[in-house]
Amino acid sequence: MTINYNFAFSFQLIPIITLILAWCVIAIFAYRMMKKQQVKPKAWKALVCVLVGLFSFSINFPSLWDTPIKISILPLGVWILYSFLKRKEGRWVTYRRFAWLGFWANFIFLAAALIAVLLQNVTYPKDELSTYMSNVENAKIRSIHPSGKTRTLDTDMLLKQIHNMSREKVQGNQWYYEKEFRDEKSTKRNERFPYQLFGTTSKWGSGLHPIIYLEADGKGILVSAPQKQLYFRSNEPLLKGEE
């Protein structure tokens, strides 16, 4: 079955701030060029030149982070502007700098993106449970498998444990084939993570919507975010009711 994905706005605070800052830097450069030049260009035309100048041929390098590094090589927008503006004497000279500013702006955006990644990793540490789970007060669990008994979440215990849980390795292969969870001869099988946690939110501004599963023994939490899974164990069970 396919579900269509509606692109609900995912709010990431830091990239938005750095993007705004990048535009401010470009605006400052444009303003200073404007001041310096003797032949004053029209402001809206200069703006158009910057925007067209942005258009470039670029190469994407896969990076260590989630954001690929995009390096612009050929200033296509600048060439287009040149071929268009050269027809009238002096026009190219007036707007040349703005077209090139557009091209170099690609690198300002690149810098902004890299700064955003760095800040993102500091503000929202990827290996900490609290990044993925910050509002626990209204949390509840739903059973996703018949082996998930009717137990309830111990919210107070979860609040207590959230910063003390230890991170452990996700044993996908082992959990999949696990012997103690299955009866080899029949269809009888338990699920290791038979509960899904609802009602929590990720840290404000992180833009993350992880899926969080709870382990049958009540002591494990599996956080499933795009391209990343984390597994945490607590000493005390986070579920109430009989096991």
Partner: protein
């Protein structure tokens, strides 16, 4: 002179926007008229799709304000289904099928809470109840020492067919909550969106059902399958696969 022209262009623009808004409103929010009478429905269906040979209408099941599910019986005694929508100020026949094996009707495919499972089971198949399933297979991945694990989802909902051969089941709250969460989690970040416009369906969700007879044995359905159908409009219908008990997990005894 110049001002006059601007005013004129402005007026024309406002007029166009208002007309578009009114049209949009009319198409999407106009209050539905009462649903047509059975004779009219039969006439419409037989005209659009003569193969159906509709003889009598069993019921009008109002799915929501603008959608109606109409089960029917044909001249040859088949039990069929039809899907209707209030669209552009009239009741439109979207799809008609002369067999009523369960299907998933996604009214708004972006919103799992608007999904419905509909059926019309032939009485000769002697189905006394069905178990409907929402499933995601268990999975794992591992590369470069980094492993991931996908827990199995298997949720069940039992519906009885003893009173009526047909039915409409809205998504149980748990099912739609899980689908919504998966949908949100799959939502790429703003920066990623620029790079991948094609988004894969990573969730591998599916629906299934098992029909049972009176003595709790899996029923063989012969008359509710292999229908002929006709699509007359914009509708999102998914197949629901027939499962057997051997594909369903049960918890281990303690």
């Amino acid at each position: 002179m110049l001002n006059k022209r601007f005013v004129l262009i402005g007026l024309v623009g406002v007029f166009i926007i208002l007309t578009a808004a009114a049209w949009f409103y009319w198409v999407n929010f106009s209050k539905p008229a009462s649903f047509p009478a059975n004779e009219q429905l039969i006439e419409r269906m037989n005209k659009v799709f003569p193969t159906a040979a509709v003889k009598s209408i069993q019921d009008h099941v109002q799915v929501d304000e603008r959608h109606v599910f109409v089960p029917f019986v044909s001249e040859e005694g088949r039990y069929g289904v039809s899907y209707w929508e209030w669209k552009k100020n009239k009741w439109k026949l979207l799809h008609i099928d002369n067999a009523g094996v369960p299907r998933l009707w996604k009214i708004n495919s972006n919103d799992p809470s608007t999904f419905y499972i509909v059926w019309n089971s032939h009485p000769d198949d002697k189905v006394s109840y069905m178990k409907l399933y929402f499933i995601r297979d268990r999975g794992f991945q591992g590369h470069d020492g980094i492993e991931t694990y996908i827990p199995k989802i298997q949720l069940e909902k039992k519906v009885t067919l003893t009173d009526k051969s047909y039915g409409v089941l809205p998504m149980p709250a748990d099912w739609s909550a899980i689908m919504k969460s998966l949908q949100q989690a799959g939502n790429p970040n703003i920066s990623d969106r620029l790079f991948d416009s094609v988004f894969p369906n990573i969730n591998n969700l599916h629906f299934g059902f098992i029909p049972f007879d009176q003595s709790n044995q899996e029923a063989v359905i012969m008359n509710s399958v292999n229908g002929s159908s006709f699509t007359n409009g914009d509708i999102n219908l998914d197949y629901i696969s027939i499962l057997s008990k051997s594909e369903i997990e049960e918890p281990l005894e303690q």
